[in-house]
């Protein structure tokens, strides 16, 4: 590390951790060639994106470069479900000053605003209406670091205990029939993770020996972690916590406030006596 440290000190713009990732990225690019179609280095972490066809070769390359430890494998569905940040701003009706008095109410109100942007069963009717409410794929979904062009991405993380760093590998998958080669022969741990991803996202893993349900019952239909899979709890009860809180009668509220204030004053007095 000592020779590496002197090199890193010459690079003033980036942190040593990022610099080490850049060197690793060069190494990966050297081994994978044109297969690296997206890259990102930030905060001492490295992401690369490869075509789905190169998924298996990428895993092999990572393992041969010392990334022997298998962290996880999973998927992302980039279909928007929550309102985007701009909507949340406009929907936030409570002014900032009120937050001082009732932080929970503010938070809940904003959270409610977030929810209301989603079609509720009473308003939108059915799941089908929910699905049609989503924008078309061409409208340019926000995708994460290292880029992406499709709705579904598979991503995995490999770590090297000796080099003390890891890499996140992503691959774009087909919207209609997401499928990517199984890597369970390279990383044995991927077998269960692929089963989980298949179950939760419906990605096919050709080459997997035993693709069956791992968490859910065998007869379960649908892919729960896809964004268009409705969360039943939310359909029944819009925002847990908000609906549980009913307004107290004014007299009772005043009494409780008095109790709380008295307790807080007691605490403050005790704190100053304690002197720490």
């Amino acid at each position: 590390m000592s020779s590496a440290d002197t090199e890193e000190q010459q690079q003033d713009q980036t942190s040593p951790a990022d610099e080490a990732r850049r060197r690793l990225l060069d190494e990966l690019k050297g081994a994978l060639g044109d297969a690296v179609i997206g890259e990102h280095v930030q905060g001492g972490d490295l992401w690369i994106r490869v075509p789905a066809g190169e998924w298996r070769r990428t895993a092999e390359t990572c393992k041969s470069l010392g990334f022997t430890y298998f962290d996880f494998l999973s998927g992302i569905d980039w279909m928007p479900s929550a309102p985007n940040p701009e909507d949340a701003e406009t929907l936030s009706v409570e002014p900032e000053a009120d937050a001082e008095e009732a932080p929970d109410a503010e938070e809940a109100a904003e959270a409610e605003a977030e929810h209301e942007a989603e079609p509720q069963p009473s308003e939108a009717g059915t799941v089908a209406a929910f699905e049609t409410a989503q924008p078309e794929p061409e409208s340019g979904w926000t995708t994460g670091v290292a880029g992406g062009e499709t709705r579904f991405q598979v991503f995995a993380r490999f770590h090297s205990p000796t080099r003390k760093m890891g890499v996140t590998v992503k691959a774009d998958l087909d919207d209609e029939s997401p499928s990517v080669a199984s890597i369970h022969e390279i990383y044995f741990g991927a077998e269960w993770h692929e089963r989980e991803t298949w179950e939760m996202y419906g990605f096919a893993f050709p080459g997997h020996p035993d693709l069956r349900h791992i968490y859910l019952p065998g007869e379960f239909e649908g892919y729960p972690l896809r964004k268009d899979f409705p969360l039943l709890a939310r359909e029944v009860k819009p925002w847990p916590g908000l609906v549980d809180v009913e307004d107290l009668p004014p007299a009772e509220e005043a009494r409780q406030d008095a109790v709380i204030n008295a307790a807080q004053e007691d605490n403050a007095g005790e704190q100053s006596e304690g002197g720490s």
């Binding site: 996880f72 992302i76 985007n84 900032e96 938070e107 977030e114 670091v145 991503f155 859910l216 969360l231």
Partner: protein, 389 residues
């Protein structure tokens, strides 16, 4: 499933031995179903083993009896609400589950907790580790038929839980970590009490070392049982004491730069070359003792100052992706948080230690004898909530 050459050789040898035995005894395969409700599984895990005589020829693990869908639920919760969920993943070390998630959110927000908060976080993290592993030390004995250690373990774990409760108000689910800091400071008199408790922890470790590790029966039941070679372990993603017991010197407390107190402390990562059940027990016992020393050091070096960085009242995390993993009592626990600038994460992948630790079982149980199944399950040490999430 594809096998390595080593696995294949072991399998063929066990098959040949079985075939000879079968001819002798004329046995037939039998399916043994362990669980979902079985003391050895410490929860609702089901192990299906096909036996040939006393030997397992094939095993499968059925999990999901406790799947609660946390990854889906995180998508409809705000960041401060999610600590309540993640508390319930590995319920024996709840505070340790909160830390990596909060760190991931802080990483995206580019804030850091003040030094005092970092220290208190690390202290509670290590207390959670001690409480968790103390129970392991006890139940490992109980699973192997030694009933005494489990009472000692529960007695001494109570002291740690009392200390956690004194700070957080909760014995099991503290829900104490906040973005940018902590809910509250330490109560008065807590430091001295905790130091006393740490002395007791070390006494407990010494006691159990004599009581269990020196025991001939315990050694016979654990030495050479459930050997995991290091390359197999890494490939399955085994972490924590399970991989350190296979000789891999890797500890995320030491090997990465996190805004927590571990980097300031003088401590040792324990490893064992054998990779068997005994090694896993041994490593965990040493780690408990080491953790108590770390807590002592942190209590001595506790910085003064604020416990909360300045954060907006309504927490919105800027768009981006962050992966933070820490060395939890059961192994590597990590959160991959994808934010799109909202009140809650767009996607949160929860990487829990036990899921990977248990995924090695179908490989590991092959060729084991029935009583060894219990030893192997106990020594891998998993929490069901951590498998099923």
């Amino acid at each position: 499933m594809a096998l390595t050459e080593q696995q294949q050789r072991a399998y063929v040898a066990s098959q040949a031995a079985d075939a000879r035995l079968n001819v002798e005894l004329q046995t037939e395969d039998m399916v043994l179903n362990i669980g979902p409700q079985h003391p050895a599984t410490h929860g609702t895990l089901r192990v299906v083993a096909r036996l040939d005589g006393e030997q397992v020829v094939w095993a499968d693990v059925v999990c999901g009896y406790m799947h609660r869908g946390y990854e889906k639920l995180t998508e409809v919760r705000t960041y401060p609400q999610i600590t309540t969920l993640v508390n319930r993943i590995d319920w024996l070390s709840s505070f340790a589950n909160e830390v990596p998630f909060i760190l991931a959110a802080e990483k995206l927000m580019e804030i850091e907790a003040p030094p005092r908060a970092q220290y208190i976080r690390t202290i509670l993290f290590e207390l959670a580790r001690i409480a968790n592993i103390t129970l392991f030390i006890g139940t490992m004995g109980a699973d192997l038929g030694a009933i005494t250690p489990v009472f000692y373990a529960f007695r001494d774990r109570e002291r740690i839980l009392n200390q956690i409760e004194a700070v957080t108000g909760g014995r099991f689910h503290p829900n104490f970590d906040r973005i940018g800091g902590l809910k509250d400071d330490l109560p008065r008199g807590w430091i001295d009490e905790t130091k006393n408790a740490m002395v007791r922890v070390r006494e407990f470790c010494d006691e159990l070392e004599e009581l269990l590790m020196g025991n001939e029966i315990f050694q016979a039941r654990t030495r050479g049982i459930g050997v995991i070679p290091s390359d197999i372990g890494l490939s399955y993603g085994l972490s924590g004491a399970n991989i350190r017991a296979s000789g891999i010197d890797w500890d995320l407390r030491r090997d990465q730069d996190l805004p927590l107190a571990w980097k300031d402390l003088d401590w040792k990562v324990w490893t064992h070359p054998d990779g068997d059940s005994f090694a896993r027990f041994w490593v965990r016992l040493q780690e408990t003792r080491e953790a108590s020393k770390m807590v002592d050091q942190m209590l001595d070096g506790l910085p003064a100052g604020s416990i909360q960085a300045k954060v907006p009242r309504i927490i919105k995390v800027p768009a981006g992706e962050a992966w933070v993993h820490t060395e939890n009592p059961l192994g590597e626990m990590g959160y991959y948080v994808v934010s799109q600038g909202g009140l809650g994460p767009f996607r949160c992948k929860i990487r829990s230690a036990s899921f990977n630790n248990v995924s090695v079982l179908p490989w590991l149980l092959r060729g084991a004898y029935v009583p060894d199944i219990i030893t192997i399950l106990a020594s891998l040490y998993f929490i069901l909530g951590d498998i099923d999430r």
